[in-house]
Symmetry: none
Subunit: 219 residues, 4 copies
DNA sequence: CATGAATGAGCCTTCATTCAT
DNA sequence: CATGAATGAAGGCTCATTCAT
């Protein structure tokens, strides 16, 4: 009927499509953050966006796809700002590692919703077979990140800023895992942890980082 | 008028009841571990136990109640063995803290299902209003645990085994949070993390603990 | 085991049984009045009495049997006091009819729970096949009541207190049906009717009776 | 942004939707009439309509909603025909009141299912909190009905067709309540009452009305 | 006579998703 | 490209009642 065939998708269409996607993702993220991914239904998202169910399926073929789209977006943002922090830090390897861990702290404070979402994602996908998909995504967003961490340790031993008995293939991976674990736990349990520990989560996180750095530093 | 506590009800009944509860809890735990709490349905549990649906509801009034019963049980076990580790450790406060963190490592290795379950529980209940219930449960199982942690830091500063610039109200809470975060993350993501980091999770955990202890220790 | 064989049921046992029945009936009636017969479950009654389910079934073989036992009891009470009112009234047939209708008004005011229960019973059993059972019960409690009503009309025409164009087989039945209908409606809808009509239900009922009596009276 | 009122949705859709609703309501009403609202399950309605469960829920979100839709419909019909009867009656207030009460009799005879349904509704909702909803519905369907009844009494006293000692705020409300009570009782208990009283319900009802009117009329 | 345990038969929804228009 | 309608497949839970002890 229309003169243009559908797959030409001239600019205006593309812009429209992009706007719709955003709308869906924004609405979904808000709901996920409040109620948890598992407790949010497609119906919730649909009524939050005002888009009809069948229309939504033109953009995302399932709830999982919405989740993955958000994961990608948030991982890109996250890795970009961490990237920047590390690159901006000049000096010894210890300085760079400090920048890395502090960037995770900043993220916790300034983008707690993002961290909470990633915590949920981890928990949810611990039971899915999507491992490959996630690994591929990470590799695409942040290629070579593991080698880079190992290199940091090696550099630090070389430049004398780190203890000499650290294992380049192990230590920083261990640290990063712990810091991310701490970060996500604090973000998820948030006020609950604050109530239990009687300390604001930011302080708890900064103290963790301080002790770790003291442990890494050459004596 | 009526002795409401007719729970004198002759031992055999009680024993039977307890056996049934166990059967249900064991079956549920196994399913939760494989598929994740949220993806396990009452129907799954029912067919796994061989008990009829309506019978099961005589024991647990909802899936949540099964979850809570497991949480209680696992927390009791966990706190008992950590308790023992700390009490068995003799020497400076640092020795005790070392024992505490290593106990968490042992738990990760020897009872990874337990840790995985607790990780799921944390994730799930981040969105529920059960905060009070959990806090009450923790207080019942491990009363005064927070004061105890603060005291350990104070003792360590006094006995010269810990750095003198630590904050008794903050440091150990921060450490414990991070270690539990690391522990649960490693347990949940398990093989996935191993694949990514190329290191067995036990080593990653032990290295985390090592660095933290180095950071705490007096120089 | 016990020396006495069961069906001798010596006095103490009988007394006990009777007390238990009462307890059940009282608890059930209270629940029925608050929540409505249909919305009360056996489980509710059981927990309200404190008697175990299986024990309760020793007394009543179903919820319906409890209902019927209450119906019988309330009908006996009701018919007794109406009986008394009529018999106490001396004078013309109109005086006796007046007493009858006023007795129904007194019941509405003084025993509204009883009336509400009967209203529920009517509604519920409009769909059951228990017609015969009810008719038999009524016949047993109040034998010959219909002939008696017809006779009242006849007497009233004879003694000049009633209009002469009334039909002995019809009029009083019609009146009684209407008055019971009004009585039960007022009892069931209670405060709702008061709010709508802006008049207390007692006044509404008394006015109905007044008009009916004016309509019956000889001019 | 989005025209929420996309209910322009082309006539055919609307027509279809309306037909489906009717189908459901008709089937439900038939079942309610035979078995009683409380004994009819969603499953019954579903298999009676031939519509799938999940489809039905697109039209009515619960059994209650079906009931309310029927109530509204029947109240509209009922009030319309009573309205007409009163308006068609010309003459004294007594003539109008006569028309009103006879209209209720006609309804009993010609639409006994409708009356039975309303009787059930009254009984059921005596225990629900829906009072406000019902009052709102009545006010919407028949606004100012109470003032109108009072006015009728006042007019009748003025035009000499009614006794002068009637209370405009009370009498007709009392009469209407009694007549509706009688009407619904006769409709519900139907054949049972006929068997007991040995008279067709129509005659019983007409006699009630006759006596009431005699009681109202000026002497 | 009392009791704890067991249970079959239902019940009312909810949800992600597909399809014809 | 958008939309209304439809739906298969579960899902969680309740209830009256029966038995073995």
């Amino acid at each position: 009927m229309l003169s243009k065939t559908s797959n030409v998708s001239s600019a205006p269409y593309r812009v429209h499509r992009e706007r719709q996607r955003r709308r869906i993702m924004t609405a979904a993220q808000k709901l996920f953050d409040v109620d948890g991914i598992d407790r949010v239904t497609m119906a919730n998202i649909i009524s939050a966006t005002g888009i009809r169910a069948s229309t939504l399926y033109e953009y995302f073929s399932s709830k999982d796809e919405i989740v993955w789209a958000l994961v990608e977006e948030l991982m890109v943002q996250s890795s970009a700002s961490i990237r920047t922090s590390i690159d901006d830090a000049t000096g010894s390897a210890l300085v760079k590692i400090t920048a890395l861990l502090q960037a995770l702290g900043d993220e916790l404070v300034q983008h707690s919703a993002r961290v909470r979402f990633m915590a949920q994602f981890d928990a949810r996908y611990a039971f899915d077979w999507s491992v490959e998909r996630l690994v591929a995504l990470e590799e695409q967003i942040f290629p070579g990140r593991f080698e880079e961490l190992s290199a940091l340790i090696r550099d630090g031993i070389a430049d004398g800023s780190l203890r000499s008995d650290l294992d380049p293939e192990l230590t920083l991976h261990a640290i990063v895992n712990a810091v991310i674990g701490a970060q996500r736990r604090l973000a998820s349990l948030g006020s609950r942890v604050e109530k239990e520990y009687g300390q604001p989560i930011e302080l708890l996180f900064r103290e963790t980082v301080r002790i770790l750095l003291l442990g890494l530093r050459a004596t």
